[in-house]
Amino acid sequence: MIRSYLILSVCIGVIVGLGSATFYYAKGYSYMLDDPAACNNCHVMNDQYYSWQKSSHRSVATCNDCHTPNTTIGKYTVKAINGWNHSYAFTSDDYHKPIRINKMNMEVAEENCRRCHDMLTHNITFHETDDTKIQCTSCHLSVGHTK
């Protein structure tokens, strides 16, 4: 139920953003898929796509493994928000170049590092509180996309 509701809201977001013709043309529907090629439908994602293919994570994590929360609700909520943002930005061409990750998406990515590497990093995170988290990407900046 929630899932299909969320899918709907993504669609609305994207459709309002683009108009249905462009939505189809830009393969906006693929936004709901996990295939990295779906992200790369937008050529503005090329840099990340090609460098992801060369990155240490190419065979272990796709875009959505890092960029969407690992819960169904979270996943589609984030997708809806991002779907709207990206479509709007893409169409209006009004965004910071080079593209910069925003705070929410950075937190999502960090949570995903911890999710997969929980065991490995347990010893360095067990004494963390919400206020004293270390930032994985302060050292491992290039794991998802080599810079």
């Binding site: 050529h43 893409f90 169409t91 910071h96 080079p98 910069r100 810079k147």
Partner: protein
């Protein structure tokens, strides 16, 4: 518009109207490459000053009055302006009060695409030893496509023999250069320290012993070259000129393979295609494209980082000027008190050593950014020599007084 974006990706850049090997008019090239041409034309824009650079040909002698004392007797004490975009090169060289009827044609070498043509036709010797008023003064094209590109392949190409010769003497064959190296070498044709060798005024880069200031000084000392005699002190001086290439080469960016073009001609997206921004200018006017592809910090933070480096350089450079001026005054006092040339030799030599180092920093156009630590090392040596010069001169005063 998405449809357009998709289209461009496949269409660009297949149109190609042949361009002649002597085509000095960028407009003709521009029919093939409208984006490059359009951005190239923007070098006409005088965007105004940055902290220490930017595009505005204000008179440096007014802003920094120390320069008049330091350059006394040199044409630079008459007219010395902040440089601006390539569009202006031909205008500015003609208008500067540093030239006169006796100016050799060598002075045009870095100012116009026509040079690439005439230097081949006339041969470098004849080209250089002609008179500026007879040859260069009649050019009307500024720096353009032909200076950096092969018109057939559009590959980068060195058009100025001085760079090729200088690299050869260092054992480097520029025809073997990688593409990334060429992205700095084309700039190294002009953004370098140079001198006019011998009576033929042959354009020469003093790099035989290396690109660092100590090696450059050693080279000049060996060939016994002086640019001018300092009017106030009588010291045999060297004038340094825009050693951007040399300074960059000792910095961390060069070591990391970052070229001049990476920062001054960053790629930009034109539709979905990456093209080279030919609006060559201060990266501070263009931080997102120039720096943020490699550095994840915010624009403001990048600007702050540059400013921190430049402020440290400027403060120390200014301190160096005061030290050199103290030396100049001390030498003058000794000279006025009757010290002989023989007695003044040491103080003058040290004055020369100090000032050529200061000038290596002052004439460089990034205010230390291209190599922050090496630049400060150069200045600390300059301060040491300047104060030693002052000491030597003051000691003479004692002798003179006692004598």
């Amino acid at each position: 518009n998405i449809f357009e974006k998709k289209q461009e990706a496949t269409l660009y850049p297949s149109v190609f109207k042949p361009v002649g090997d002597e085509e000095v008019d960028p407009k003709v090239w521009g029919e093939n490459f409208p984006f490059e041409y359009d951005t190239y034309k923007k070098t006409e824009t005088n965007e105004g000053q940055t902290f220490y650079g930017g595009s505005d040909n204000y008179q440096k002698l007014d802003k920094y009055p120390n320069l008049k004392i330091l350059f006394s007797g040199n044409p630079f004490s008459k007219d010395y302006r902040e440089e601006r975009g390539h569009y202006w090169a031909i205008t500015d060289v003609k208008e500067t009060e540093r030239i006169n009827d006796k100016t050799p044609n060598t002075c045009i070498t870095c100012k116009s695409s026509s040079v690439a043509v005439d230097i081949k036709k006339m041969g470098p010797e004849n080209f250089y030893k002609a008179m500026f008023k007879d040859v260069g003064a009649h050019y009307d094209k500024s720096i353009g496509c032909l200076d950096c590109h092969d018109p057939k392949t559009m590959a980068l190409r060195i058009s100025r023999p001085a760079f090729i010769e200088a690299m050869e003497r260092r054992g480097i064959d520029v025809t073997k250069a990688s593409r990334q190296e060429m992205r700095s070498y084309v700039c190294g044709q002009c953004h370098v320290e140079y001198y006019f060798k011998g009576d033929g005024k042959y354009l020469t880069f003093p790099w035989d012993k290396g690109l660092q200031i100590d090696s450059i000084e050693a080279y000049y000392d060996e060939v016994n070259f002086n640019d001018w005699t300092h009017e106030t002190t009588g010291s045999p001086m060297l004038k340094m000129q825009h050693p951007e290439f040399e300074t960059w080469s000792t910095g961390i960016h060069a070591k990391s393979g970052v070229s001049c073009a990476d920062c001054h001609m960053p790629y930009v997206k034109n539709g979905s295609v990456k093209v080279t921004d030919h609006w060559i200018r201060s990266p501070l006017k263009n931080v997102n494209n120039a720096c943020q592809t490699c550095h994840k910090w915010s624009e403001q933070e990048m600007v702050n980082r540059v400013k921190t480096i430049q402020d440290r350089t400027y403060e120390t450079m200014y301190r160096t000027e005061l030290a050199i001026i103290d030396a100049i005054n001390a030498i003058k006092a000794a000279k006025d008190a009757g010290a002989t040339d023989e007695q003044l030799k040491e103080a003058r030599k040290l004055h020369r050593r100090a000032q050529l180092r200061w000038d290596f920093v002052a004439a460089e156009n990034s205010m230390g950014f291209h190599s922050p630590q090496e630049t400060l090392k150069t200045l600390s040596n300059a301060i040491d020599y300047a104060r030693q010069s002052q000491l030597a001169a003051e000691r003479l005063m004692k002798n003179v007084a006692v004598k």
